[in-house]
């Protein structure tokens, strides 16, 4: 594992927004995640794939500071998650598997509340909330109570709370689940926009999904995790050059086969 960490460090030492180093999580005898290391650079959109129970959510929860790893360390936007947790968490937007919502609050008041929690300065709050509402297509429902919105809108509210404070790092756990095809393409467009270099520099996005086409549509790079270990870390272009289809790669990874292509982990 340490080999993998070193090689990726040399690839992008300066611009990396997420640095995961040998992250492991054990619950008693059960190992959920074992020695996961990777970097995500500025403006990079990384697809995080793996069969159910492979450790995707656990890894994301560790990277967002929700749970501490048993071993290993991580830096978010240059801040160590464990020695300066508040700074690191300020730099993250996180959409968990089930979107966090207060059903009794209105969309707008919820986003204002989140922007306060995330330490967004008062002067920028209104503008930031308006922008998040607009980006997620929520402007026309901003005064409605979240609990009365459809599942698709709640998912968008979840996404809006992740991006409202314009964090440099976004961790999205299945962002398009429960959306209709039109909404899915809107959200994909939004994620692509977030990563595009702009006033805040491109936001770095790591997103987990079960839809392989989604990865092909918006990600440049893919991470595949199986049984807690990272089995593939490759650029999609590298896969294409070798004539590999993502679907085949994923199936082989899920069957526990080691994958010999792209930039293999631990090579």
């Amino acid at each position: 594992m340490s080999d993998g960490a070193e090689s990726s460090e040399s690839v992008k030492a300066d611009s990396s927004r997420i640095e995961a180093r040998g992250i492991s999580k054990r619950y008693g005898d059960f190992t959920a995640v074992e020695g996961v290391s990777f970097d995500v650079g500025e403006g990079e959109v990384v697809g995080f794939l793996g069969p159910n129970g492979a450790g995707k959510t656990t890894t994301m929860r560790i990277l967002t500071g929700f749970i501490p790893p048993t071993e290993g360390s991580a830096q978010i936007a240059g801040y160590d998650l464990f020695s300066s947790p508040l700074e690191a968490r300020r730099s993250i937007g996180y959409l968990p598997e089930s979107p966090p919502i207060y059903p009794e609050m209105s969309v707008r008041s919820y986003l204002v509340y989140v922007s306060k929690l995330k330490d967004l300065p008062r002067a920028r709050r209104k503008e930031a909330v308006d922008k998040a509402l607009e980006r997620c297509g929520l402007t026309h429902v901003q005064s409605r109570v979240i609990g009365l919105l459809s599942k698709g809108y709640r998912q968008r509210v979840g996404l809006a709370q992740a991006i409202v404070h314009e964090p440099p790092v976004l961790v999205l756990d299945e962002p398009t689940v429960g959306l209709d095809p039109i909404q899915i393409s809107e959200i994909r467009q939004l994620i692509a926009d977030l990563a595009r270099p702009g006033e805040h520099g491109g936001q770095s996005v790591i997103l987990s999904t079960h839809i392989l086409a989604e990865v092909e549509a918006i990600c440049r790079r893919v991470l595949i995790i199986n049984e807690g270990t990272l089995v593939l870390d490759a650029q999609l272009t590298a896969l294409a050059q070798e004539g590999q289809r993502l679907e085949d790669v994923f199936t082989r990874a899920a069957q526990g086969e080691s994958i010999a292509l792209g930039r293999e982990v631990g090579k």
């Binding site: 967002t64 501490p68 508040l86 700074e87 993250i92 996180y94 966090p100 509340y113 929690l117 995330k118």
Partner: protein, 265 residues
Amino acid sequence: MRHITSIAGRELSSLFVSPVAYVTLTLFALLAGFFFLAGVLSFDAQVAEAQSLQYTDYLEKINLNDAVLGPFFGVMWIVLLFLIPGITMGLFASEKVNGTQELLLTSPITIWELVLGKYIAGAVFAACLVLVAAFFTGILFLYGNPEFWRTISGLLGLLLLSWSYVAVGAFASSVTRNQLIAFFLALVLLLILWMLAVVADLGAAGGTIGADSNLSEVMRFLSASDRFEKMVRGLVDTRDLAYFAFMISVFLVFTKTSVESARWR
């Protein structure tokens, strides 16, 4: 600090749009009104009877504080014991159901800010309940002459009691995601705390626990009943104030530990 006010503010506004708050306030107002009226009517009947029988000694001794407010505060205490768990049950349990626990624990806030924000929201709501009780005692001042400071002391006792109950309720809410379990756990904890002095007395009477043994001392210390009764009689003792501060701190530390433990599961 500003996180604490944000969290407390959101919690309070959510409380006040939920039916729980209105049901609790209405029930409290109804019960307080009922027991207050019963107390006043029985006082009136006693005075009338004493006058008709010319019991001058009795008429000199009887007063509003002992005859009406003392029993009224005693009953309000029991009412709070049952109602406070109703307002605290959702404090932390609902965050787990809403998935917002993940939002809170991945935000740049400390666990103490979260716990104190939640606690303050519960404490403000409890103060609203005590205000309702204060409203009824205020009526008494319009028609009679109860002792002012003794009444204030009793109300302060009620307030401190309710605040310590909010801390116990917050802890109960932090250990489960089920609001019903949080409610009953808080109720059981409060009933145990309430009964400790009774148990100590019974044990002392039966000889099981020595009247001045350590166990009996501890049980008496932890029980609020003697202290509350002192405050109803108008005695505000710093040791009793320190007791309430102690109980609130202890349960807030428990709550903080319990919320933090979500990270280790």
